[in-house]
């Protein structure tokens, strides 16, 4: 599991320092702290950023909103973001609200509030609300990553690294090259959200990343995966073989 990369856009050093401190304590990785709109854009496009925390007012101008509007223009490269503001001035809010999905945090805020706000922003951005706060689930799935709530903070896992997923009631065991861990998510939801071209169900309890398949032994109902992991292939899902490109 990797840390979440956060880009902070804040022109007041005292506030950004406090923010950096809180986030680092909770295992977030700060990409950089940008002080202007220009810097922010440069950092956003030159680094791998998972979430952006934006102060609305930069040097007295609502440049924070302009930034959000700019990154929203290209939907595929857009990321979740949280606005920070010290005023609930309605006019500013009316404008900020247009940058959907909209989440904000009033200054001053404490540790819990900022962590909560980040979670909310991720949920809203990937349109999977009520995940981190509920007791039944703890994972939001984007195209590239699984965002998993671990303790107070969020972690991410690159989906391409997943070898297979073993379902156990409402838990899912995620097995990657390096580690294995448990997430809370329903089977139907994970099947729905994962890319079906690379993830296939091979058994009632197995979802396999087809990229990681080393060998299929239909006679034994067995799939050998990279890292010598094994998964079961039940009769019901044997059609899978036709879909996989094999060397002849």
């Amino acid at each position: 599991m990797d840390n979440i990369n956060v880009l902070i856009i804040e022109d007041t050093i005292a506030e950004s320092d406090a923010l950096v401190k809180v986030l680092e304590e909770n295992n977030y990785t700060i990409v950089t702290v940008a002080k202007t709109y220009k810097d922010a854009l440069a950092s956003f496009y030159n680094n791998k950023v998972d979430i952006v925390i934006i102060d609305i007012f930069l040097n007295g101008n609502p440049d924070g909103i302009t930034f959000a509007e700019t990154i929203n223009v290209v939907p595929d490269s857009s990321k979740p973001f949280v606005f920070l503001t010290s005023s609930t001035d309605r006019k500013i809010f009316e404008r900020a609200k247009l940058t959907q999905p909209f989440s904000f945090l009033m200054k001053p805020f404490n540790e819990l509030e900022i962590l909560y706000a980040i979670e909310m922003a991720v949920e809203k951005f990937y349109s999977q609300t009520d995940v981190f706060l509920s007791e039944e689930e703890n994972t939001v799935i984007s195209e590239e990553y699984l965002f998993i709530k671990k303790g107070k903070a969020l972690k991410k896992v690159l989906i391409a690294d997943i070898i297979y997923i073993e379902v156990e009631e409402k838990y899912c065991n995620i097995i990657t090259e390096k580690e294995r861990f448990v997430i809370l998510i329903s089977l139907t939801k994970i099947l729905e959200l994962l890319d079906s071209s690379s993830f296939c169900r091979t058994h009632r309890n197995y979802i396999v990343n087809t990229e990681k398949i080393v060998e299929i032994i239909p006679a034994d109902n067995l799939i050998i995966l990279s890292g010598n992991h094994k998964a079961t292939l039940s009769d019901k899902y044997k059609d899978l073989i036709k879909k996989i490109r094999t060397l002849k």
Partner: protein, 609 residues
């Protein structure tokens, strides 16, 4: 000789008498004919209504023909010339309907007869076919014309043709009339038997009809009949009867002339009779009477004419009066209309004025009410100002003195005291900050400037986040804190305002708590629409009066009972306003010395609007 002479005279007288009588008979006959035509006329008048009705009904099938319709109308009105013109036009149109042509010829013949152009009348009647409904009338009229022309035989043949029919079939011709005419026709032919037969028959019918004038005429005719035959004994009673009857006649206005005429005739007949009887004296009186009636007849005629002129004049005058009255009426109507419109306009004006006046009064009322609320608000604001600035001033003052102490201790390096002082400073600043924060939100709420959006919120996390800030404070007082809100509790509220509410309620709970107390936050789901969020503390509590005071609207708690703890009341006031804005309800349960429960009812569903 004497005797011889006497006889001679007697014979002479007798001869004379005969000669005289012949003369008289001739006179009487003339008079009789006169009477006859007169009678014919009056009898026709009686049955005229019936006749006209019949004409109208029977010819109504042709009223689509404009000319015929006009001819018919003029005919019914008795305007003969016009009838002739239009019936001629209709005939010229050459329609092939036989009945229509019959009507036209009939109208023309009738009209010619009325105008006494008998030859033309006869010609027209000849053109009428025999099956025409009114051909009995034609016979009757032709008979009348023959009688007029003294062609008695011809007349009798006409009358005979129709005599045997019923009155119903005759369409308005009186049977008595026919019999009378027959009687009269036989008279000059000296066929007295037949004349007598018809005249008596006619007289009897007329007696039955009870028309005195006709009866008198009939008696006169019968008397003449007998007289002509020298049956004086029979004739004289009739003459007398006729005379007596006519004497008794009282002229009704319309028939005055007829009545006078009949009186004159009967009187003259009596005079002739008496003269023949050699009663010259009585004869003279009768004659005089006759003359008198003649005079009065003339008079009457003149009077009638004068009356006609007068009537015409009066009618003209009346017409003038009517037209002048009409003019006056028109003037009055136009005046009335003018007055009416004027009053409508006036009324409208009055109503608008009234309306605006009322609007003005209403506006004034609202303005006054607004002024009152504004004054009140202004007073509240001033009070708030003084309290807040007083609080801030004392806070800052405490900070000032504390800072001086801090500097002193820093010089002496008394680090232990330093720690305590910094702790207290932090507390003071915290309090001041909360006060300022509330003040800001209050101002924002009053001016409705802040962003406000009601959405679903998981209550547990918000409580956690808010309690996080107060952990050190609670630790200070050794207060145990429990957040027992369920993770699944969801309410609908604006997140920022919910935070303000929680901050204030927690702040209050800590403020009024004693050492080693507890604060519990939990929810009660007793109601379907509301989630009750309870913030319970084991603090000082409050009495009922304070509780009610706190729940009252827009009252700032300025009484300072506990000098160091009780604040401005601004926080609670703010809470109440915000809860209201979130469509929630606020209540307090408290027991003095035991603790307080602050309860916020938050909507479980998205409130409308």
């Amino acid at each position: 000789m004497d005797i011889l002479c006497f006889f001679y005279i007697l014979i002479l007288a007798k001869l004379l008498k005969k000669q005289d009588m012949k003369v008289e008979v001739k006179v009487m006959l003339v008079c009789l004919l006169f009477t006859f035509s007169n009678l014919l006329f009056s009898q026709q008048k009686i049955s005229e209504a019936f006749f006209k009705k019949e004409i109208k009904e029977r010819s109504s099938q042709f009223i689509d023909e404009a000319n015929f319709n006009k001819a018919q109308l003029f005919f019914l009105k008795g305007k003969w010339d016009s009838t002739l013109i239009y019936s001629m036009k209709q005939l010229n149109a050459k329609t092939d309907i036989k009945e229509l042509n019959d009507y036209c010829h009939f109208f023309r013949g009738f009209s010619f007869n009325k105008k006494k152009i008998f030859k033309e009348a006869q010609k027209e009647f000849e053109n009428v076919s025999n099956d025409f409904a009114f051909h009995y009338h034609i016979k009757m009229i032709l008979g009348g014309i023959a009688l007029e022309q003294k062609k008695y035989r011809k007349a009798i043949s006409y009358f005979d043709q129709i005599e045997q029919f019923d009155e119903k079939e005759l369409l308005g011709i009186r049977k008595s009339n026919i019999e009378h005419n027959l009687g009269i026709s036989y008279l000059p032919l000296k066929e007295y038997d037949k004349a007598e037969f018809y005249l008596v028959k006619s007289a009897k019918r007329q007696e039955a009809d009870k028309d005195s004038l006709l009866i008198i005429g009939a008696y006169g005719d019968i008397a003449n009949l007998y007289y002509e035959q020298y049956k004086d004994d029979l004739a004289i009673p009739y003459f007398e009867k006729a005379y007596e009857m006519s004497k008794r006649l009282k002229g009704l206005e319309l028939k005055k002339i007829d009545v006078f005429d009949s009186k004159r005739k009967t009187a003259r007949n009596m005079a002739v009779v008496e003269e023949n009887r050699k009663n010259f004296k009585t004869s003279l009186t009768y004659r005089k009477e006759s003359e008198r009636w003649k005079d009065s007849l003339n008079n009457q005629t003149r009077i009638w004419e004068v009356a006609q002129v007068e009537k015409k004049f009066a009618v003209e005058k009346k017409q003038e009066e009517v037209s002048s009255l009409e003019k006056e009426n028109k003037k009055k109507i136009s005046e009335r209309n003018r007055l009416f419109y004027f009053s409508i306009v006036l009324l409208g004006l009055l109503m608008t004025v009234g309306y605006f006046y009322r609007e003005k009064i209403k506006a004034n009322k609202t303005i006054r009410a607004q002024k009152e609320t504004l004054d009140e608000l202004n007073a509240t604001k001033d009070k708030l100002f003084s309290i807040v600035s007083h609080d801030l001033r004392s806070s800052v003052n405490a900070l000032k003195t504390s800072n001086t102490k801090l500097l002193d201790n820093l010089e002496t390096r008394n680090l232990k005291v330093l720690d305590g002082l910094l702790q207290s400073n932090s507390a003071i600043v915290n309090g001041a900050y909360n006060l300022l924060d509330n003040l800001l939100h209050w101002a924002l709420l009053q001016t409705k400037q802040s962003y406000f959006k009601i959405e679903s919120i998981r209550l547990f996390f918000i409580v956690e986040q808010m309690a996080y800030n107060y952990k050190p404070l609670m630790l200070d007082k050794y207060i145990t804190f429990e957040n027992n809100v369920l993770k699944k509790d969801i309410v609908f509220a604006d997140q920022e305002s919910l935070k303000i509410i929680l901050r204030n309620l927690l702040d209050n709970a800590i403020k009024f708590s004693i050492m080693n107390g507890f604060i519990k936050v939990y929810t009660q789901n007793t109601s379907e629409n509301y989630c009750e969020l309870v913030i319970e503390d084991s603090g000082l509590g409050m009495d009922e009066a304070t509780r009610l005071e706190l729940l009252k609207d827009t009252v700032l708690l300025s009484k300072k009972k506990n000098e160091d703890i009780i604040g401005t009341g601004l926080g609670l006031q703010l809470c109440k306003s915000i809860i209201k804005k979130n469509k929630g309800v606020f209540s307090i349960e408290s027991e003095l010395g035991k603790g307080t429960k602050m309860i916020v009812y938050l909507s479980k569903t998205l409130p409308n609007g």
